[in-house]
């Protein structure tokens, strides 16, 4: 216990040291204030924004955008993945076409989406949904392809219907792979959220960072980056936590 506590204290101390060195470097004029804001001024901006409420509204806007796109991505990926993973015909007709789209960088569809939907929130959701669906789709296909043979044989002996087999055998068996895909797709979705906010001037943390740079408010820029870091860390932890909850039956 005391060893863990002292290690934790050392880690906290190191983090503080990094911030202190950064602060000193700015204060002493070693780096220019125009480019690098002092951490204390960035914190000040964050506290001010938290007090006047703008921190919560921008973070909320980003969170909403992120989840709308991500949930759509997961739903589409699970539908296609289940079809391709469990029906031979779907695999033969669709997999090669998907194989061509897969290596396309997710952001490359932004110009196409802007063309059809304009610089709107709809465009952002469409880009996030398209970009974030691939990790889930691939991991679902991998998971369904690797359902243990014994399980498949049991299902056949019990004369399960295809739907029952998918729901009670295939999806639980593929869930570990699917979870790994969900994690990758969430961080991809966050990247695309920030990119589309910057591209289309949609309200949120990404746009705040972009606007701060254009007006040379470096303290605001660093405050935005820190907010984004904390937000990204929290949603990842939340996903890990729910994964541990959902996967508890496996450990036993």
């Amino acid at each position: 216990m005391s060893a863990a506590a002292s290690r934790g204290a050392a880690a906290a101390l190191f983090t503080l040291l990094v911030f202190a060195l950064w602060q000193v470097a700015v204060d002493s004029g070693l780096v220019s204030r125009v480019f690098v804001a002092a951490p204390l001024s960035a914190f000040e901006v964050m506290i001010e924004r938290a007090a006047n409420g703008s921190l919560w509204t921008t973070t909320g806007a980003t969170a909403l955008r992120l989840f709308a796109g991500w949930v759509a991505a997961v739903a589409i990926a699970m539908m296609i993945g289940t079809a391709i993973g469990n029906f031979r015909a779907a695999y033969e007709y669709l997999a090669p076409t998907l194989e061509f789209f897969r290596p396309l960088p997710a952001s490359a569809v932004i110009p196409v989406a802007v063309l059809f939907l304009g610089l709107t929130a709809k465009m952002s959701t469409a880009v996030i949904a398209f970009g974030a669906l691939w990790p889930v789709l691939l991991s679902a296909m991998h998971g369904f392809a690797n359902v243990p043979r014994e399980l498949r044989e049991v299902a056949a002996t019990l004369e399960m219907s295809r739907a029952r087999y998918i729901l009670t055998v295939a999806i639980p068996s593929a869930s570990v792979d699917i979870m790994a895909g969900l994690r990758i797709s969430l961080s991809l979705a966050l990247i695309l959220t920030v990119v589309t906010e910057m591209q289309a001037s949609l309200p949120g943390i990404g746009y705040e960072i972009f606007a701060a740079q254009r007006t040379f408010r470096s303290a605001d820029l660093y405050a935005g980056l820190m907010t984004l870091g904390i937000f990204g860390f929290l949603i990842n932890q939340a996903l890990l936590l729910s994964e541990r909850r959902l996967m508890r039956w496996r450990a036993a």
């Binding site: 050392a10 880690a11 033969e92 290596p103 396309l104 952001s107 490359a108 920030v194 990119v195």
Partner: protein, 244 residues
């Protein structure tokens, strides 16, 4: 995997339907273009060399960023892998930094370096650093303890220990991280180009859209998918060469 006629049914039917709708003026050509025009735009892009020029600019940034990430990630990873204390103490700072998505740094690097290769390469390097760093730390931790004991018994110097024991033992695992990073590099560089940096394939894509050269935009998109396939195939090939 067995190639079958079924694999071309869906794309061929879609392309045919698209061409037909365009020919019969059922869709607005200004928005949708048509496959034959896109094919012609692609040929002209290849013929005047603009595709190759843009591809080189994008790949240049990928290579620059990936090499920087390998150098920093592997050396920092060896250090943090060998020193448990350093790894533990720096973990919260690194985890915090890692939570910031790479693209969010685009405005900052623009402020620091202006447009061009360095800003784009640095963002690619940042994105590629994390998978390499994490796999390197894990690889060093997983080195057979007996090997390290032998190195200690032989009284090897730290430099010798890293060169003769650590590097060879960790290489296969580190390559897994490098492969993941190589996949990130293309995505990140194209994204930066679409967003702000006026060079490379991403810029070609967004400029074609903004100047309403829709056929050229789709031609860039198809070309980009082909480049993506090529990069994937190369990484897989390099992987097989090293493993066997």
């Amino acid at each position: 995997m067995r190639a079958s006629w079924r694999s071309v049914v869906v794309p061929a039917a879609l392309l045919l339907l698209w061409e037909l709708c365009a020919a019969l003026r059922l869709v607005d050509l200004e928005f949708i273009s048509r496959p034959s025009h896109i094919f012609a735009a692609g040929i002209s892009g290849l013929a005047d060399g603009s595709f190759f020029h843009a591809t080189w600019q994008t790949l240049e940034a990928c290579l620059f960023g990936l090499s920087l990430a390998i150098v920093v990630g592997v050396s920092l990873g060896i250090f943090l892998g060998l020193s448990t204390i350093a790894e533990f103490v720096s973990r919260p700072s690194l985890e915090g930094l890692r939570s910031i998505p790479s693209i969010a740094f685009a405005p900052l690097t623009l402020l620091l370096f202006g447009f061009g290769l360095p800003m784009e390469g640095l963002i690619v390097a940042y994105a590629c650093l994390w998978p390499i760093l994490i796999t390197t730390i894990a690889a060093v931790r997983n080195i057979e303890p007996r090997l390290m004991e032998v190195a200690a018994a032989l009284e090897m110097s730290p430099v010798e220990r890293i060169r003769k024991v650590v590097l060879p033992a960790m290489l296969p695992r580190v390559l897994v991280g490098v492969r993941t990073a190589a996949g990130f590099a293309l995505v990140v560089s194209v994204t930066v180009e679409i967003l702000i940096n006026p060079r490379g394939l991403g810029y070609g894509l967004i400029v074609s859209q903004q100047s309403l050269r829709i056929d050229m935009m789709y031609a860039y998109l198809v070309w980009l998918a082909a480049i993506g396939l090529l990069v994937n195939a190369l990484v897989r090939l390099a992987d097989r060469e090293v493993v066997t």
